[in-house]
Amino acid sequence: MSATGEALVEFDGVSVVFEGQVRALDDVTLAIRKGEIVGLVGESGSGKSTLCRILVGLTPPSSGTVNVGGLPVHRQLAQDPLAFRRRAQMLLQDAVASLSPRMTIGRALEEPIAIHKLPRGQTLEQLASILRRLGLPQDVMAKFPHQISGGQARRVGVARALLMRPEIVVADEPTAGLDVSVQGELLNLLLDLQQEFGLTYLLVSHNLNVIRRVTGRTAVMYLGQIVEAAATRDLFAAPAHPYTAALLSTNPAVDPRKRHKPIVLQGEIPSAVNPPTGCRFHTRCPVAQARCASEPPALVEIEAGRQVRCHFPFSLLKSGSDA
């Protein structure tokens, strides 16, 4: 699972504005190295879904560039769209709904063959072995999406994506809707597949336990910006940005010894149409100062491998006390 030095995906100053009003993404700069599993964390309005869509070419950025394998996504889509699609795949959040309702699973799995004109015999053999690998029974092929479970639907999505031998897979809430007792199984699968197929993942999850266990690096987003990006272990051990600290503290631990007073933020998540001036988080930040309301902080590398967008990083400890 070690990542090589080269960046497979590079977001550089990416901004997305919808309808001229909603600033879904603002100046996002992020690199994903080959072989990494990067976690993306954020609440509603953070822009994490938009970032995923940009990566797989569903939405074009309003400004900034996004490169996959060194080449801009929009150019790849213009020159050889099918090749790009084979390169970057996505597992949608609602696995059952991502399957065409009137198509059997079998037909749905053959879509890549038809679309990319893959060699039929060979690919079907690969498909059979992938299905075995994923633990999907043969009889699932004749069923319709509404007849299979969420977990099975998710695995069907994975099988379909793998058929094209992608380099990067965006997993949008892969464990959403799955019971705790079966989440581990799916995640283990994703980890194994990563080794086997040499995949790179961008994993979006609101489940901090999943992020902590599975990802190597994590980026935290708030209101369209990346507010912190660091190695997952470092992030969880000592969050630099007050929002990260608050977010991590909301995860109540079952073990009472590990439980600490959660940091409860005031107010609601502001609207993306009219974000707060200065630091976007200052309206809810427990340790905000005067400077925060007027001067927007830039995303700065404060230590090796750690970037924070904050004038006063490490001023809020995850225990809730000020530093």
Binding site: S44, V180, S181, T232, N251, E268
Partner: protein, 324 residues
């Protein structure tokens, strides 16, 4: 002290195209007075159906309901619909999961609250009701309470709407408050706010709360007692710290192992192999046996009784003593 609610052998079956689905299989549960009981379970556990039974809002395809729900001396299941309805909104209140759809978009927040008040206190003067409603909105942490009183649901955020639902439930001053996954639909930081609010409010609340959730951590934080459900049965009950600290049932243990999973990134994650039981299958063995690492033939051939597992604790496992 006698529990507020005593559920005995509650059985619920629904008719499906494949046969009768056993949603609840003989549930035994006590809800103590002024206690917060957390009910946890995964999909198919029946926890939401349990709540539906307590307030008797049952599915249309119901084919069988048996057992008793003794609420302060009266069996709710034996009541006529009219008599049962007299309990709703007066002695029993419920907070639903999805704040987006639980409020009528055509009415203002104020109308919702005043309606609740006037059901509870018939004949209450409008001015008095309005004042109490606004006071309650403040109590649940809504700034600009008078302004929000005249707002419509779509003008409020998810977190605020959930606060309104809590306000409505509290205005009922119920003996029993049911909260069905009240924070699941909310963002993490908003959820933290609601949880903090609930922690604060419970001290002033005179009734019992049943808090349904799939999040063990949340239940560990908020609740006094814990009830773990699996496949339509109760597998373990007891004070929350005891159950989570020293679980007696293999399912509880396995579930905790999945949640706690504290290893550093790199190793494989813990999960329970297999799938949740099919509700259509008959109840002749321990529901967890197919996935239990300690299952024996005895487990697979008879239903374990929910029996004593320590002070105030019960567990439904035949091998609980051996497994320690």
């Amino acid at each position: 002290m006698m529990p507020l609610v005593s559920i005995r052998q509650l059985t619920l079956e629904a008719a499906t195209t494949r046969g009768a689905a056993h949603i609840l299989r003989g549930i035994d549960l006590d809800i103590g007075r002024r206690r917060i009981v957390g009910v946890v379970g995964e999909s198919g556990s029946g926890k939401s159906s349990l709540a539906a039974c307590l307030v008797r809002l049952l599915p249309a395809n119901l084919s069988r309901i048996d057992g008793e729900i003794v609420f302060d001396g009266t069996d709710l299941l034996g009541l006529s619909e009219a008599a049962m309805n007299a309990y709703r909104g007066t002695r029993i209140a419920m907070i639903f999961q999805d704040p987006m759809t639980a409020l009528n978009p055509l009415f203002t927040i104020g109308t919702h609250l005043v309606d609740v008040l006037r059901r509870r206190h018939p004949g209450l003067a409008r001015k008095v009701a309005t004042a109490r409603a606004i006071a309650m909105l403040r109590r649940v942490g809504i700034a600009d309470a008078s302004l929000r009183f005249s707002s419509y649901p779509h003008q409020l955020s998810g977190g605020m709407r959930q606060r309104v639902l809590i306000a409505m439930a509290l205005l009922v001053e119920p003996d029993l408050l049911l909260a069905d996954e009240p924070t699941t639909a909310l963002d993490a930081t908003v959820e933290a706010q609601i949880v903090a609010l609930l922690e604060e409010l419970r001290h002033g609340f005179a009734g019992s709360i049943v808090f349904i959730s799939h999040q063990l951590g949340l239940v560990a934080q908020l609740c006094d007692d814990l009830c773990v459900m699996y496949g339509g049965t109760v597998v373990e009950t007891g004070p929350v710290a005891d159950v989570l600290g020293a679980p007696r049932h293999p399912y509880t243990r396995a579930l905790l192992a999945c949640e706690l999973d504290d290893d550093a990134a790199g190793g494989h994650l813990v999960s329970i192999p297999g799938d949740v039981p099919d509700p259509v299958s008959a109840h002749v063995a321990c529901v967890f046996a197919p996935r239990c690492p300690h299952a024996t033939n005895a487990c697979r051939s008879s239903v374990p009784a929910l029996r004593d597992a320590g002070p105030g604790r019960r567990a439904a496992c035949m091998r609980m003593e051996e497994l320690g």
